[in-house]
């Protein structure tokens, strides 16, 4: 149910290319903690969809269980959504996306939901290349159950009431690369501009986009020395490049010297412009990724930006030769075989 209908909207409100205001993309008021990184990400999802001029009815939202998974309520009220089970969002989304493959899937999960209970489904949805944006709001703790270590918490992290984490962390971006996701990025909720540009790129990507976004938990894991805190992120963020998303309808106006930028053309004709910073990094070259991530780990850098992209892989739906009409709109006459086939079927039995 829309919160603001076009009729009640102020005539002065700014509208996007399809005539909708930003309110048409908002959700219910958040019930997460004030200052939670997840709220910042929700805002960027609203902004990205608004700026891209996406019809909210064309988005399907998915989530699992946890603080992160509550957040789809807080954006895109006019989009259908399904808040499923802990760690099982990918399967639910896979089935749902088959209903109408022209829709845009935006899924939100957390580090517990994805890297602990949901590791299996996370790996398999990447392997299938389900065209969907898969955001992991990664804060290193279980918030809803009051601050237990998650699988992405760094070894040695101390949390009040939970002692010291003895285990090595799981690196979601690394898992995504190894898991053959076709778009992998990492970002930081404290860098909203980059989050938004990455979201736009991910929405345009025809395949699975895994966005590992460090999203500090202000209540349970925000000490300055924690690797999922705002302070640590601000001090250690090392962007791979300056990233901007250029929609297909706009010309690329910025004038770069050759060798300074990498331009990636997306399936829908839009472009991602990656401006070189200190180091050379080509996100289309798989062979360098793990070295780069390993080096960043050693140097304690929070590497952000587009880590990997491959725009040429077939998606899950490319394997199914589905009708142009969405499956969920096929009339019953097209899903029940005609009556004259039944005799043929009986003859095929013995």
């Amino acid at each position: 149910m829309a919160e603001t209908s076009p009729a009640t909207r102020s005539k002065k409100a700014q509208v996007n290319i399809i005539g909708l205001t930003k309110s048409d993309y908002r959700g219910a008021p958040t019930t997460l903690c004030q200052g939670c990184g997840h709220n910042s990400i929700s805002s960027q999802i609203v902004a990205a969809c608004y700026e891209l001029g996406i019809q909210p009815e064309n988005v399907l939202k998915f989530s699992g269980i946890g603080c992160s998974s509550k957040s789809p309520t807080y954006f895109l009220s006019r989009s259908f959504g399904f808040n499923g089970l802990h760690g099982r969002m990918p399967s639910l989304a896979t089935g749902a996306m088959f209903a109408d493959t022209s829709k845009i899937g935006i899924a939100v999960s957390g580090d517990g939901d994805t890297a602990s209970i949901g590791m299996g489904q996370f790996k398999h949805v990447m392997r299938r290349n389900l065209p969907m944006v898969y955001v992991i709001e990664n804060n290193g703790v279980y918030g809803l159950t009051k601050g237990q270590f998650s699988a992405t918490a760094e070894s040695g992290l101390q949390l009040k009431g939970h002692g010291t984490n003895p285990y090595m962390p799981i690196d979601i971006a690394w898992e995504a690369v190894v898991g053959r996701a076709t778009l992998v990025a990492r970002s930081f909720a404290g860098d909203p501009k980059q989050v938004k540009e990455l979201l736009k790129a991910a929405i345009s990507h025809n395949g699975i986009s895994v966005l590992d976004i460090i999203s500090p938990c202000v209540t349970f894991n925000n000490r300055d020395d924690s690797m999922h805190s705002y302070a640590w992120g601000k001090d250690h963020e090392a962007p791979l490049h300056e990233l901007s998303y250029v929609p297909s309808r706009e010309d690329i106006m910025i004038d770069y010297e050759s060798g300074e930028i990498i331009e990636v053309t997306m399936h829908d004709g839009s472009n991602i412009i990656l401006k070189k910073l200190e180091q050379d990094y080509d996100p289309t070259d798989r062979s360098n990724i793990l070295c780069m991530l390993e080096e960043a780990n050693k140097k304690n850098w929070l590497v952000t930006g587009l880590i990997y992209i491959d725009t040429d892989q077939p998606t899950l739906f490319d394997n199914y030769n589905l009708t142009e009409t969405p499956l969920n709109r096929l009339p019953t006459s097209r899903i029940r075989p005609p009556i004259d086939t039944i005799n043929k079927v009986n003859e095929m039995m013995f």
Partner: protein, 614 residues
């Protein structure tokens, strides 16, 4: 299934001293040796000779090497349940040779390879040694195939000794090898050679004979998994997700085959369906629920262990009111249990699956034909009631070949239930809410993703929600919601298939059963009738029970509940539903992994009846 018309009539085939079309053949072989082809060939040839016949594969959870048995029952009177006694035994496996010999009834015929130098210490049976090795050596079979075709020798020898029509054997081979000339010829040549050898070298000494009849022309032969898959295809299934598990695997595989054949859109050459092999059963049902929520006719198929894994998602489907169909081809559990043996022990589990207050609709097909029928009906019920529907088949029904009535085209149009698209939302005068009971029938209206109407979207969830699908922990809202779900479940009593009742004049005791025990129960009633114990028989086809079930219990002095599980699960459900009638209900539950036999059931009822009066 409906039994052949010859049922209960003493068929007029008699010859001095011989027993015609009324005995069982058991073949003991080594798993993976190709014996299934031989056994199915015999079964199908007998069927094509017009003789009522059933075949049951008693196989181990193993690819190659362990003992396996196949029992064929020929019954001129149309009784097709498993029998305990074997009149004909073929012992191809040295490991079980002694055991197989022991299982033979006195006067029975014993066939065995003459190179097995095993002790035969019974004088009351007829021996037929077969020169398997020589016949195979003399055949044209390539060396690599010799072990596989060796089992064709007993097909030929049995055909000659018992009188199985070679032409019909050829038809069976043609079907099995899908018309491929080379394997048909290779196998048939060996069968013919064995037949000729038997003609020249063996003298018939036993009394068992096969003779053509005309009792099968109105039937087809198929397995329940194929039938279920075909039913789903005609039910308009859009989406299936599955994970391999015996004995459900062949259901999904049949679905893949028949969808490709029947559900390519003729206008566009595109598919109107998708099947995904998931990474596990959690993902399989997760995808199914996603698709069901998305407005697809969605299903998954599994067996007990897989159903266990689906529990949390099943609760979500119940609570979020997502229509899906789950086939459970039951095997023996708990845990891995006996993966290749049959049972009816998931009834209570499927019915109550999910945590919290859940009661699910369960359909119980009792024949291969009914697997087809419930294959399409399950979708109509699921979408009408916006609920997960569990269809319980079992290994015996699902994987064995049964003679059954031909599949009938659905007699009702597809019912997609209460769905609102853009124009419906324009037309609707009331405010729409996903969980708002507008019609007072406990079933709300749903919208589907892709709907462009700005009022159409809602956020589905497993958490507490109000009538507009908004999150709430309000006590009244929650109570109202689960009460509506309960009432919706109760309303299913008028949507699910009614029971099948078979009555006998003057019967005062009743018998209730479900699923694949049907032929054994029917035969048990016949046995008991001959002893003047008259039973009416009601076959339950769904939970919740329809009114007829209660009436049946009320109208009988006592009612025996027959089922293949340890704890009497159907009995338990009946007691829960009809506590006032519970003193009439007597459980006859039995499970050893083998399909039920009429003798077991008749004995159990006879004993209880004797104790009652004695």
């Amino acid at each position: 299934m409906t039994l052949p018309q010859t049922l209960q009539k003493d068929h007029q085939i008699k010859q001095e001293g011989s027993i015609v079309n009324d005995f069982s053949i058991t073949v003991g072989t080594v798993n993976g040796s190709g014996s299934q082809t031989s056994n199915l060939t015999i079964l199908r040839a007998l069927f094509k000779m017009g003789i009522p016949v059933s075949g049951k594969n008693m196989f181990p959870s193993n690819i190659q090497g362990l003992p396996t048995w196949y029992t064929i029952r020929v019954s001129k009177d149309g009784f097709l349940a498993r029998r305990e006694s074997n009149e004909i035994v073929v012992a191809m496996n040295p490991t079980t040779f002694a055991q197989d010999l022991e299982s033979l009834t006195p006067g029975g015929a014993f066939f065995y390879p003459d190179d097995l130098k095993m002790k035969i210490d019974r004088d009351d049976v007829v021996r037929y040694p077969m020169p398997v090795k020589e016949l195979v050596r003399d055949s044209n079979a390539p060396r690599s195939l010799q072990d596989y075709v060796a089992n064709m020798v007993y097909v030929g020898v049995l055909a000659q000794i018992l009188g199985i029509d070679l032409e019909k054997i050829n038809l069976a081979l043609d079907f099995h090898f899908r018309g491929k000339e080379k394997p048909i010829k290779l196998n048939f040549d060996l069968i013919t050679a064995a037949f000729k050898w038997a003609e020249e070298n063996l003298e018939k000494q036993d009394k068992y004979r096969i003779e053509s009849m005309d009792a099968t022309q109105d039937y087809i032969m198929a397995d329940g998994n194929t039938a279920a898959a075909l039913g789903a295809v005609y039910g308009g299934v859009h989406f299936a997700a599955w994970y391999p598990i015996t004995p459900a695997t062949s259901l999904a595989e049949a679905l893949v085959d028949y969808l490709a054949m029947l559900r390519m859109d003729p206008e566009t050459g595109k598919n109107t369906y998708a099947v995904v092999q998931a990474e596990d059963e959690l993902a399989a049902i997760g995808m199914t629920i996603g698709a069901g929520w998305g407005g697809l006719r969605a299903m998954t198929s599994t067996s007990g262990p897989g159903l266990s894994l689906m529990t949390e998602f099943a609760g979500l489907a119940y609570f979020a009111e997502v229509p899906i169909v789950v086939w459970d081809v039951q095997r023996v559990g708990p845990s891995t249990g006996l993966p290749t043996r049959t049972s009816q022990s998931d009834l209570n589990f499927a019915h109550f699956i999910g945590h919290g207050d859940t009661q699910n609709i369960v359909l119980l097909p009792g024949s291969v034909n009914e697997c087809f029928e419930f294959g399409w009906k399950a979708f109509d019920i699921a979408e009408r009631l916006q609920a997960p529907i569990f269809v319980l088949s079992d290994l015996d029904l699902g994987m064995n070949q049964w003679m059954t009535n031909p599949f009938e085209y659905p007699d009702k149009p597809i019912d997609r239930g209460k769905v609102l698209w853009e124009e419906d939302l324009e037309d609707i005068s009331e405010t729409w809410g996903r969980y708002l009971d507008l019609d007072g029938d406990f079933i709300p209206y749903r919208t589907l993703p892709g709907n462009q109407h700005p009022e159409s979207a809602y956020f589905a969830r497993g958490t507490g929600h109000d009538e507009y699908a908004k999150y709430t922990e309000d006590a009244d809202e929650y109570r109202d919601l689960i009460e509506r779900l309960k009432n919706k479940y109760e309303s299913a009593r008028t949507h699910v298939p009614e029971p099948i009742i078979e009555q006998r004049d003057g019967a005062t005791i009743g018998l209730i059963a479900f699923g694949s025990t049907d032929p054994a129960v029917k035969e048990a009633c016949y046995i008991l009738e001959n002893e003047d114990v008259l039973c009416d028989y009601l076959r339950v086809r769904a939970v919740p029970f329809t009114k007829e079930v209660k009436d049946f219990i009320a109208n009988h002095e006592r009612v025996y509940i027959v089922e293949m599980n340890r704890d009497g699960q159907l009995h338990q459900l009946l007691v829960l539903d009809y506590p006032e009638l519970s003193m009439k209900l007597i459980s006859i539950a039995y499970l050893d992994g083998l399909p039920a036999s009429a003798k077991q059931i008749a004995n159990a009822i006879r004993n209880k009846e004797l104790n009652k009066h004695g």
